[in-house]
């Protein structure tokens, strides 16, 4: 997929504030292109997670249109959405959506077995570089949110992608870990040529952004 076009998109919850809304995203004609990096800056409650949920087909409570290249997202079948979630969109959920009864490594494997995208060595190295190597066999439920964020980031990376969506990826990370994550992400982006879309309500993932959008 080369582009995502948001055509006068507006979440239903904002319908009442439609006229007073000032946003670079909502009600605009916006095109996100492969290879570019976007920072979506937002205040709480401005629909940042909604935007991500719309893009991965989890919710559809919006007016307007989302076009993947020339295909209207509202016409996609379940099978096509599943395909997109495995091949096109790498996604770090704000609420992480990890499985607390599995270990950190199992949480990665449950995705990597589906995509067969990364080697065990790459995964080990990623744990190493993000400073959670010793937590590989710890159940997610026993890890801090910051540690869990890094596991969720690795899980997002173990798949091919045209667009990498990271919803507040460093909200609970210190600068050194944020830097390590940024480094890993940049390397992956260089290899895949994917677009990176990062949302933030304050702390930014320290990478180079081509565009900054205010939600």
């Amino acid at each position: 997929m080369q582009t995502i076009r948001l055509n006068r998109l507006l979440p239903h919850v904002f319908l009442e504030r439609k006229d007073s809304l000032q946003s670079d995203v909502w009600l605009q004609d916006l095109t996100l292109s492969r290879g570019k990096s976007y920072l979506v800056e937002a205040m709480s409650g401005t629909g940042k997670s909604s935007l991500c949920a719309y893009l991965i087909g989890y919710r559809n409570d919006f007016d307007g249109q989302i076009l993947f290249d020339d295909t209207d997202a509202s016409r996609l079948t379940t099978a096509q959405w599943t395909q997109l979630r495995v091949q096109t969109f790498a996604y770090l959920f704000q609420e992480l959506r990890l499985f607390p009864e599995l270990t950190a490594l199992e949480n990665i494997e449950i995705k990597n077995r589906l995509t067969q995208h990364k080697s065990a060595a790459w995964i080990d190295q990623a744990f190493e570089r993000l400073g959670i190597a010793e937590k590989r066999h710890t159940k997610i439920g026993r890890m801090s949110f910051g540690q869990q964020q890094r596991v969720a980031f690795i899980r997002a990376m173990v798949q091919p992608a045209d667009f990498i969506l990271l919803d507040e990826p460093v909200s609970h990370l210190d600068d050194a870990n944020a830097q390590a994550m940024a480094q890993l992400l940049t390397e992956e982006q260089q290899v895949s040529g994917a677009a990176v879309i990062v949302t933030s309500i304050g702390k930014h993932l320290p990478i180079h952004y081509d565009h900054t959008l205010h939600l």
Binding site: I56, Y58, R59, N60, T78, A79, T82, R85, V86, Y91, F93, R97, F99, E101, L102, E106, E109, I110, K111, R113, L114, T115, R155, Q159
Partner: protein, 397 residues
């Protein structure tokens, strides 16, 4: 799959699963038992004795006190025979010929004492007897007469004579081992023949010998004696045809048909089996609901997990699979156990039945197994569809 199962097995309720297992087992077992019971017992009522096809009826004149007192004959005259033969339902009509001389016979198993009695012979045209020509042949030189005995004789022997004397019981297959000595008394002479019992018939209530023997012996021992038939045998298209009953009533004829009784017995057996099978199916349906409630509850409790799996790219089909395989496994377990439980029970009731009817060997177990397999497939398919629909419902949070 291992990781997926590790995730999805959580909240799995073993007692609920056991509940379904037991209920489905009960249902499937009852259905299979009903079918098996029917398969085993139905041939007892419906089987053909091999000597006469299904479409033969035996016709005689009704015996009434008035007719006996007035001396009205029980014989069929030629016109009556021709009239019967001209009826649309009758395909062929034959006369019963009977022996005109006195006969005594002794019967017994080889090596054991037999019992003797005075009796008579009857014969019908060979085209009505479905025995291969060689077995049903009488050769005056050989002095051996093929005989078909009424099955009631077998019961009489087994339960009356043999039981009281401590002799072995005889089954159909042992007919050829019966020793029968026939003595014909005519015109002051006694002529001995050997009887060869070729089988038992429940369809024709007489001691049947080949027509060739009867014609030969009547001509030889009682020449010139008139032989007018008192019974006729008719081949008809459909023995249950109402036109037959109407015609017989209008002429005051009686039809000997023990198949009517057998038909009633089979009918009641069928009603009982249908009821039992119906109850079994009802139990199966209820058990299906137990499983579905249990799976729905499980899916409900694991909703978040299932949604997460769908969001990281698992297809609804793949997410449904562990639960579907679980139900498949449980259903196969139920099916196998139902067979295991069915066999000893069948062995037990067959033993009881064979005490009363030694000739019954029962039907095959395959029909019950096939019905069980069909229930297995149907229940599993319903399970699969229901689980998949439930998971599909989670696609949008």
């Amino acid at each position: 799959m291992k990781l997926l199962w590790k995730l999805l097995r959580e909240h799995l309720s073993v007692p609920q699963l056991c509940g379904f297992f037991m209920a489905n087992l009960c249902g499937m077992w009852i259905v299979m038992l009903g079918i098996q019971f029917y398969t085993d017992l139905a041939p007892m009522f419906t089987r053909d004795d091999g000597f006469f096809g299904a479409n033969y009826i035996v016709v005689s004149k009704r015996i009434s006190t008035a007719a006996t007192l007035s001396g009205a004959g029980q014989e069929f005259i030629d016109d009556e025979v021709e009239e019967l033969a001209s009826q649309p339902f009758a395909q062929a009509v034959g006369r019963f010929s009977s022996s005109q001389y006195k006969v005594t016979a002794t019967m017994g198993m080889k090596g054991s004492p037999g019992f003797g009695t005075e009796l008579f012979f009857e014969a019908v045209p060979d085209s009505f007897v479905e025995v291969s020509g060689r077995d049903w042949l009488f050769d005056p030189q050989q002095r051996t007469v093929p005989v078909i005995l009424p099955r009631s004789y077998l019961a009489l022997y087994n339960f009356g004579f043999a039981a009281s004397r401590g002799l072995p019981k005889i089954s159909d297959a042992m007919a050829s081992q019966i020793e029968m000595h026939i003595l014909i008394h005519a015109q002051g002479n006694n002529e001995a023949f050997k009887g060869r019992v070729i089988g038992f018939s429940s369809r024709i209530n007489t001691i049947l010998v080949p027509l060739s023997f009867l014609e030969w012996s009547n001509a030889k021992y009682e020449p010139g004696k008139d032989d007018t038939p008192t019974r006729l045998i008719a081949r008809v298209g459909n023995p249950t045809d109402e036109a037959i009953m109407k015609y017989m009533d209008s002429r005051g004829y009686e039809v000997e048909d023990n198949r009517l009784e057998a038909g009633k017995a089979t009918y009641f057996l069928r009603i009982v089996v249908t009821l039992v099978t119906g109850i079994g199916i009802l139990v199966c349906i209820l058990s299906f609901y137990i499983l579905m409630l249990s799976v729905y509850l499980l899916v409900q409790k694991n909703t978040r997990k299932l949604q997460n799996l769908l969001l990281i790219g698992y297809t609804p089909a793949r997410v449904s699979l562990p639960y579907q395989l679980l139900t498949l496994m449980v259903n196969i377990g139920v099916f196998l156990l139902a067979i295991v439980l069915l066999l000893p029970l069948r062995a037990w009731y067959m033993k009881m039945i064979s005490l009363v009817f030694p000739q019954v060997h029962g039907g095959s177990v395959w029909s019950a197994v096939v019905v069980g397999a069909v229930i297995l497939v149907v229940v599993t398919l319903f399970n699969f569809v229901a689980i998949r629909r439930k998971v599909d419902g989670l696609k949008h949070g």
